[in-house]
Symmetry: C3
Subunit: 221 residues, 3 copies
């Protein structure tokens, strides 16, 4: 098993687990666990394969991926009730998932398109799409709206992989290093609330109290 | 017209009707009805065709499907105001839609991939995707989060079809039986609130009142 | 540069700007700006290319599109704080985007499928999809649920283009006129709250105060 096969299965498994945890937070039944686990587990990779026109899509070509998702759903159905901080576990598994998938996405993007920016974009997209779908379907505020580093970790993983491979570093070594970088960034964000500076109000900006045209509640500035 | 052609048009029509009902609940204009009807009507089948790389996508190959959606939108625009319980009608039409589409999706998934698990997954996905998009776009809580059987009905329809066909039963007969099974399960769920057991707190689990690290409102366990 | 190349880049740029404005309204960091700009900028066109099976997808074939999105994200990161009414600016840029994309989508849909209804549907879908994704990901109520004309403007742009080309009018001229029509309709909707008549309660409809089966809060009529 190569490092990329390992990352692929690992990414699917941990994202499936986050889907199952989301289902447990919504107190769904076992089929709800299966559904969320499959959707979240294969979501990002499915978009990657569709965009790069890789046929058939990975989980259609190889039913093992679905089996992994089903196994995670059943596992979490039994063990999630024992976990005290399910959302925190979800965040850590999600961190492992974006680390694995940002590098996998960049690897496949680079192989198929040969373009560094496309590969980095594909890594970000692959790493974040499953989590976005999980949050949208379960009605949670999307994890990409959180202040701590999230997309940044995916970007760092994808960019480091692409840059190292472009610089001639061995693919497997680049992948390992990039996964660690992405995971450490996201992990520190979870543990220590690492953030980048957010949107700042410039000096001299006058915040108007009364909107100028009060015809709509959406005229928030 | 074969049973599968019938199921295909029936699924599109009833999902389009649920989209139009969602538009009526949001008090949209006629174009909003058209938009929701088309999106919901062809959404699930579009994802199925894209994932299985069937080109062109069914409603691009044959404009009749769009015509069906437009007709349902106009029909519902006039008749929805006469309906007293629009959400209940929406649920029943949606039940007919998931019954038809879970079997259609499994049928096409089986034809293209030849794999039973993939066919079942495709049936579930096809049956639920349109409704998920309808709920997300209209800002309603997703129907898959409801406690009554929903994904379970889609899974039952797809699985029964695949199992019966694999056991050598005639395709048309299998399809009819599987549609009835899925519809009856979902119908009983609507009428009698059938559920599977949900997520259970295990005995002995201590629910902590105070989160251990109170830094985030998302640390819900 | 043809009119269609111009519309394509213009549509991506203004949608990317609306994504960046959404990120600024959520007070995200610079990477959040990049992410929303890229997702919103290329979202609609990506769905168009996937559905029409155009390979590779436009921003994979040509990394300039991603560069445009990145540039808009950086630009808005610096200039958004100076804007007093960011949501209003977002709506106007979005109006320019749906005008450009409804015509581009109809143009490509017509070229690939040769069918007028499919081309019109593709124009509507292309024009609205990026905005829907932006709103869903940023947790805002979807712009398609607003009472003012929105989908109608996209439909008008796509339909006028298709009808004029079918009637033998020059493609570039048709495109310019159709873009203006869509933009004027949407602009008037923003400025003067133009609407179509919404869903009406028919005379004689008795609104029941008590739901007949009070078992669910979702039995809203």
């Amino acid at each position: 098993m190569t490092i990329f096969q390992f990352l692929d299965y690992a990414g699917v498994a941990v994202f499936a687990a986050t889907g199952a945890l989301a289902a447990s937070r919504k107190q769904l039944d076992i089929i709800g666990f299966l559904f969320f686990a499959c959707f979240t587990g294969v979501g990002g990779g499915t978009v990657r394969d569709v965009l790069l026109d890789r046929n058939p899509v990975f989980w259609i070509a190889n039913a093992n991926y679905l089996a992994v998702c089903v196994a995670m759903a059943i596992l979490l159905y039994w063990f999630a009730p024992m976990v005290d901080q399910r959302y925190r576990l979800l965040l850590w598994l999600d961190a492992a998932g974006i680390a694995a998938y940002s590098v996998m996405g960049a690897h496949i993007g680079l192989e198929v398109s040969g373009s560094a920016p496309v590969a980095i974009g594909m890594g970000m997209l692959t790493a974040t799409f499953g989590g976005i779908m999980r949050d949208v379907m379960s009605g949670e505020p999307s994890v990409i709206l959180r202040k701590e580093l999230y997309v940044t970790a995916a970007l760092a993983g994808a960019a480091h992989y692409v840059l190292m491979v472009s610089a001639g570093v061995d693919e497997a070594l680049s992948a390992c290093l990039a996964v660690v970088i992405a995971f450490v960034i996201r992990g520190c964000a979870i543990q220590f609330n690492w953030t980048l500076p957010g949107y700042r109000h410039r000096l001299g900006r006058v915040v108007k109290q009364a909107p100028q045209d009060g015809d709509s509640p959406d005229n928030r500035v």
